[in-house]
């Protein structure tokens, strides 16, 4: 059995890009940082706060998210929503994820155990 460190590194590598995909899907319904963090964690995408908050800003700068300030509640919150560009990028990313899944399945089935 490999050490926990090696395993953790590989799992992190595998999960890295999925946070972006999950955020773009989840933000079809507008949400603010902490609530998104809770939703993603609840759906099996545990992500660190210090990763997610800067990531949301970066995606906004890239035009994949739009944002709007909500000042009606007790504290002002910035709500993010997936933009049209974000939606296009998301569909490409989902296609690629499916392609990876298909290729992997074929590889597993084709290879003798």
């Amino acid at each position: 059995m490999v050490s926990d460190d090696v395993l953790r590194t590989h799992l992190q590598e595998l999960r890295r890009g999925t946070v972006v995909v999950a955020s773009l899907v989840a933000l079809r319904r507008p949400d603010y940082g902490y609530a998104l963090l809770q939703r993603l964690t609840g759906h099996g995408f545990p992500v660190d706060a210090n990763t997610l908050y800067p990531l949301l800003r970066r995606l906004e700068e890239q035009g994949l998210l739009t944002s709007e300030w909500n000042t009606e509640e007790s504290r002002p919150r910035k709500f993010y929503r997936t933009s049209d560009t974000g939606e296009q990028v998301l569909s490409r990313l989902l296609d690629d994820l499916t392609a990876v899944r298909t290729s992997l399945t074929a590889l597993i089935e084709g290879a003798p155990r």
Binding site: Y32, Y34, A49, N50, Y53, P54, K78
Partner: protein, 312 residues
Amino acid sequence: MTTLTDRYLAATLRSVPAGRREEIATELRASIADMIDGRTADGLDASAAEREVLNELGDPAQLAASYADRRLQLIGPAYYLVWQRLLIVLVSIIPAIVGLVVGVVQATTTDNAGGAIGAGISTAFNVAVQIAFWVTAVFAVLERLGTSLNLPRWSVDQLPESPAERDTTLVNVCASIVMLVLLIAVLPWQHFQTVVGDDVRLPIIDPALWRSWLPVLIAVLLATIGLEIAKYRAGRWTWRLVAVNLVLNLAFAVPMIWLLLTDRLFNPDFVAHFAWLRDGGVDTLTAVSALAITTTTIWDVLDSARKAHRAP
């Protein structure tokens, strides 16, 4: 009163671009407050929750760097190899040349041989430090600007020679032979040409040694030239060559060190001519020379053995 959160925000925003500072501050403050609320709802008291949240967010400088998309490395993988190769080439050539020139100029314009060697070494060291600093500084700036160097892609043409041949390239052998010839030439040169004052010339090495040890040492150096040629023809270090190398190294180092330690190497008239040599300087010179000879001998023998061991 400033809270931990205020201090954390101040520390984070310090290194975030000024234009977006206000907005990031408001958003981050709300996020931290949300996270604290989440913990207090689970039954934690407010100040413990605040500490836990800020610890989770981690080093403010690191958080700010992720907001600004800034690299947390001096020189990254894109530039590292170019930086390393350039530094090795420059540091292995320029300091030695500059140090040698300064040393030679000092030795010919003043009559202080030890001082000239010291000036040469300290100049070489300073030049090496300056080169290392400036090359690294330039690459660190390139890293931050994200400048593309437009270097040609690596191709197989850049592969080094195969390891078996690498130990004895023609360049290395020529350099060794040139060094040995210079060393042999220095012996008669110092006998006739060492200027110690106005039109006064004195040999550095005791002239009496020309009738005893110097011919032996010259014979050993000539044999070492033969060894270099034999090594080049063999293409690599063999154990037989290592044995010969060991014998020749000892045949040179042992008499030299023995002459040094028994005060027979330096010309007594030469030592008497300089106050700094008379007043203990000769002892320092003896110790440094003996140490240098011992070190180079051990290194040379070990290096040849290592290369013979590594060869296929």
